[in-house]
Each structure stands twice: as structure tokens, then as C-alpha cells.
Amino acid sequence: MVSWQRGLWLFFVPSFGLLAVVLLWPLGYAIYLSFFDYFLGTGTRTFIGLGNYIELLSEARLWRSMWTTIIIAFGSVALEFAVGFALALALYRLNSSAKVFSVLLFLPHIVTPVVAALFLKWMLAANWGLVDATLLTFDITPPDWLGDPLWAKVSVILADAWIFTPLIMMVLYAALQGLDASLIEAAQIDGASNWRILRHVIIPALIPAIIFTISVRLMDVFRFFDLIYVLTGGGPGTATETITMYTYQLGFRMLEVGKASALGVITLVIVAALLLSINRALNSIYRGGDR
């Protein structure tokens, strides 16, 4: 390091300061609060050590909401990825005049999730909503989209996919643009079918982008809140109650701030562990060569 470069750490201070105030301090405070029995209604705060954690981890509701979160997260990310990747490949193959479609396809992502959720709610409304009205004209009896425990999960997954598929499509499409086209041509000459070109050339080349989109979406979907809050409110019953919905219930409805903080910390640990193992798995596919 050249001597004048030693002073460069000063440039790091403003952004680190900001991060410390908006990120590290609240995180530390949440961890601190998670060791207290803190009911906001009375304002009394009693240190109970790991009491909140023990209570939460032995609760059926926590595990149920965890399970719901995992189903919704993996369901929607899988759907978004499959559809988004297919659309990206289709766009890649289209000539430039057809690329107007990419803008149209991106529209759902520009809409604010809460707004999108509101009008999806109207569309899915029983009997007179657009979806039901359409199905009824064909004499098909529609399911209770938001009222049935199973269909409510499906509706939430579809709603999330409707908003976030365009994002995945755009990221993968951008990655495809960066792909050396002669790799695909070489594979054609080598005698690979379209399917094998996808499997042996395109997907391996896209692995970094795929890891990125899947990780970002999974992280996001574990914090999934606005859509569910508007669409189902976690219902019917607790059918679509994810961890964040449960945390919200604990903190802002039951005013159990200590317990809600502990749940936040548990969520953080689980999501971090999950993402690390997914990244590692995807990376090992990437590094393992082509078998």
C-alpha cells in the first residue's frame, strides 16, 4: 500500500456510519430485547434470558408458520424461476422487433406490491371478481380463492409470481445477452440438440446469475409480508400465516415485543443458514465440471 492510500479508510466512514445507524443498531437492539419479557401494554421489561426462545421453539404455531413460509417461498420461487427462465430464453431467441414484449412483460413488476395485491384481491373476489365471473360464464365452479386454506396458499404463490417473474426474466435475459453466442454455435456444430445446448452450455454459463436471482428472491420471499397482509391477512385461520405475519401479530397485535424480537432473530438465523446451504449447493454444481 502506498502511503497516501492509508488515509482512504476515511471514505468508508460515512457509509459505515449510516449502516450502523439503520442496520446494526436496530439488529443489536432486537437481539437485546429478545432476552426480555416485554409487554408493550404495561411497559414492564423483565430479563428472562432464553425464555422467549424456549417458549417459541416449543410452540406449534411457530413451526406451522415456518412450514407455511417454506411452502410459499419455495413454491413461488420455483414457479417464478421456471416461468422467468422460459420467458428469458424466448426473448433471447426473438428478433429485435419482438423485444417490445419485454417491456410489456416487465409491467407487473413496476406496480407497487400493495397496489398489485389490492387489485388481485378484487380480481379474485368470490362470485363477482374478474376471475370468478369469467369462470362462471363457462359454467365452471371456481374454488374459494382466498377463503380455502389450500387455495389461499396457491393464490398467494400466484400473486407473488405475477409480480416477481418479470424481475427474474430480466436478470436472466441480461445474463443471456452476455453469453458468447459462438458457444451455442460451437455446440450446434458439435451436434448437440437444443435441449442439450440448454443443459450443457446455457445453464452452466448462467449459474452465477441463477444463484443471484434465486438467493435474492428467497431472501425476499422469507420477508414476504405486504402481499399476504393485503390478500389474506394470514388467513383463513393461519393457513397463510408466514413467519413475518406471525412476528407482526406478536409484536403489533399482542404487543409482545420481546417475544417478537426473539422470533425475528430465529428467522434471521434460519434464513441465513438456508441461503448459505443453497448457495453452496449451487456453487458445487458449478465447480464440479460437466458430468
Binding site: 459462438s182 454455435e185 455446440a187 450446434q188 456444430i189 458439435d190 451436434g191 450443457h200 452452466p204 465440471g289
Partner: protein
């Protein structure tokens, strides 16, 4: 190994026609170089042969069989790309064996063929490496290995040496040439570098704006260029072109700038006719006699000396193998030995032969 015939091939991208009725006959085992300035259609022609672009009209025959509408994989060709196009996540061995694997060749057979190709190219110690761990020259060799492992009828090379440094380029040139001697496979090689074309080809096809300008052996093109374009394109430094007319006595050439250059042999055209005279830099002689010229610039390259001359407003480049005692600004006489000048028509640029 197979002959390759291109008949009346045209290619249009939308309204733009980039190839106009190309006819080329390539013999079995011949090394043919397509050369021309950028945008002349040489790469497009190669991609038509490969099947990476659809031919608009005309036919391509490999081994007597029309392949114009076949998928690239059914044409039995192999191609080396400018970017090498090595699959980055596969080892050298996997890259070379990929085409065999896609054709469902058994693993044992695959390993045997890859090992044989690696042996020819000296890649055996690198088989387990990945492309990112290789130098440019090694990648180039792997790309060739991937092509030869399948023993195709025709090899196609698309500017394969343009990403290498000058020294490596010379070395790889010789390697490709000796590989061709060993394998005797038909090769079509695209380059914009006329030195590559001259040193490697059995036959050169010069292209300009989607037309074939001339087809011939390197020395045919050098000694008897069909037109002014080929004459200027082949040879380095380029041939000098002087506009003017043949002297009234038929023993000299008078440039448009009014200098009379004595010719030792009478030109093959009638006195007084307007023409372009082409003169290779290495054919110019300097002496006390001859047309007066001034030395503008001297560029020693070590082996040769390049001298830029001013001939009353026309610039000439001359190359000498001897270390002449010259100084910039000096006045010299330019002489032209017999039988080394070329004449081209002023209007069409076509060669005027005797």
C-alpha cells in the same frame, strides 16, 4: 476429407445483399484462405458453409452432396472460432470429447480419440485443466483439438489467430500448416491478414463487397493480380499505384503529376493510353539516373529498409534489402527494371495484360 463446392451462393440480410453469386471449387485436401477487408462477406460465407446462416440462393456441396439446407451437425464439418468458444465449465478433455459425447460415442472410444488428438497437438499434460487456466496459444490448440477429434470432412477456421500476439501468431501459423500436412483434411480459413493468406494457403480467394475478385495460388495473386484491388491488397507494403499515361514513344510512363519514368521494356499498351501503373515496393531501384525523387522518410525494420519517396507529388514506398547509405531529404533517381510493372484500366481497375 472431401471436396467442397459453392455454386452461385447469395446471402441477404433483409434488404441488404452481402454475398453476390459466389462460385468456388475446393479440391479434396486443399487449404483455401478467404481473405478481404472487413465487411467483404468472408465470415458470412464461412458461416454459410457451416450452416450457421441460411443460404439465400445457390448451393453448397460437400463431398458431392448438397448440404445447403442441412443443420450444422449434419454437414460433417468442424469449426474453430475467433473467440475459440471453449465451454468454460468443462476441462480440456471434456471440451474435446463433447462432440463425440453428443453423438453418443462410448466413453472408452471417446477417451481413445481425445488422447490421440491431444497427442498430435501436445495437449496431453493439459487434459484436466480448465480453459481459464490456459494461455491464449493453448486455448487455440484446444479449439483445434476439439475440431480434429471428430475427423470431419472439412475444417472451418474463422480468424483463429487474431487474438494472439504477433510472435505466437507466426508460430501457430506454422502449426496449423503442419497439422494440415499431417491430416490432409480440406480447410477453409478466413482472415483479413494477407500475410496469413500468403503463407498458409494452397489457394486464396480474395473477396470484396460480396464479390470474388480473384481466386488463385499465393504467387499467382502476387505476380498477376487480376485488378487494382487485389494488387493493392496482396503484398506488404502495398503496391504503389500511379495514375498517368504511356509515353508517346512507348518507352516511358508519364504520371499525372508530369514525371516521366523510363521503362526498360515497352509496356503492353499503345502509346498515349491512360492507365494506372502498379509497382511493387521491392521492385524499385535507386540510382544516379532515372526520374528525380526526394526521400521523405526512412524506416529501417532490421532486415529491410522502407523508404518513402516523393515523386513530384506522388508518394512511393520502396523496400530495399541492402543497407543503402541514404538520408532523409536527399534527392535520388528512380529506375524501374524490366517486366515488373503492372497496368490497370483507369475506369474498371482490371488488369491490362500483354
Amino acid at each position: 476429407m472431401a471436396p467442397l463446392t459453392i455454386r452461385q451462393a447469395t446471402k441477404s440480410f433483409g434488404a441488404v445483399q452481402v454475398l453476390h453469386g459466389i462460385d468456388i471449387d475446393i479440391q479434396d485436401g486443399e487449404f483455401v484462405v478467404l481473405v478481404g477487408p472487413s465487411g467483404c462477406g468472408k465470415s458470412t460465407l464461412l458461416r454459410l458453409i457451416a450452416g450457421l446462416e441460411d443460404i439465400t440462393t445457390g448451393d453448397i456441396l460437400i463431398d458431392g452432396k448438397v448440404v445447403s439446407r442441412l443443420h450444422p451437425k449434419d454437414r460433417d464439418i468442424a469449426m474453430v472460432f475467433q473467440s475459440y468458444a471453449l465451454y468454460p465449465h468443462m476441462s480440456v478433455g471434456e471440451n474435446m470429447g463433447f462432440s463425440l459425447r453428443m453423438r453418443d460415442v462410448s466413453q472408452a472410444e471417446r477417451e481413445r480419440k481425445v488422447a490421440a488428438a491431444a497427442e498430435i497437438l501436445g495437449l496431453t499434460p493439459l487434459l484436466d485443466r480448465y480453459p481459464r487456466q490456459l494461455s491464449g496459444g493453448q486455448r487455440q490448440r484446444v479449439a483445434m483439438g476439439r475440431a480434429i477429434v471428430r475427423d470431419p470432412k472439412v475444417f472451418l477456421f474463422d480468424e483463429p489467430l487474431s487474438n494472439l500476439d504477433a510472435k505466437l501468431r507466426v508460430q501457430m501459423r506454422a502449426e496449423i500448416r503442419s497439422l494440415h500436412k499431417k491430416l490432409k483434411t480440406t480447410i477453409v480459413y478466413v482472415t483479413h491478414d494477407q500475410i496469413e493468406a500468403m503463407t498458409m494457403a494452397d489457394k486464396i480467394v480474395v473477396l470484396r463487397d460480396g464479390h470474388v475478385e480473384q481466386i488463385g495460388s499465393p504467387l499467382e495473386l502476387y505476380d498477376a493480380p487480376a485488378n487494382a484491388f487485389v494488387a493493392e491488397f496482396i503484398g506488404s507494403p502495398s503496391m504503389n499505384m500511379l495514375e498517368g499515361r504511356v509515353g508517346e514513344k512507348g518507352q516511358s510512363f508519364i504520371t499525372a503529376k508530369g514525371v516521366e519514368l523510363p521503362l526498360e521494356a515497352p509496356p503492353p499498351l499503345e502509346p498515349g493510353r491512360n492507365a494506372i501503373m502498379g509497382l511493387r515496393p521491392e521492385d524499385i531501384r535507386l540510382g544516379a539516373h532515372g526520374a528525380p525523387a526526394r526521400i521523405l522518410l526512412i524506416e529501417p525494420t532490421g532486415a529491410d529498409i522502407h523508404v518513402n519517396l516523393d515523386l513530384n507529388g506522388d508518394q512511393l514506398t520502396a523496400v530495399f534489402h541492402d543497407r543503402l547509405e541514404l538520408t532523409e531529404g536527399e534527392s535520388v533517381g528512380v529506375a524501374i527494371p524490366a517486366d515488373v510493372v503492372h497496368f490497370f484500366d483507369v475506369e474498371t481497375g482490371e488488369r491490362i495484360s500483354s
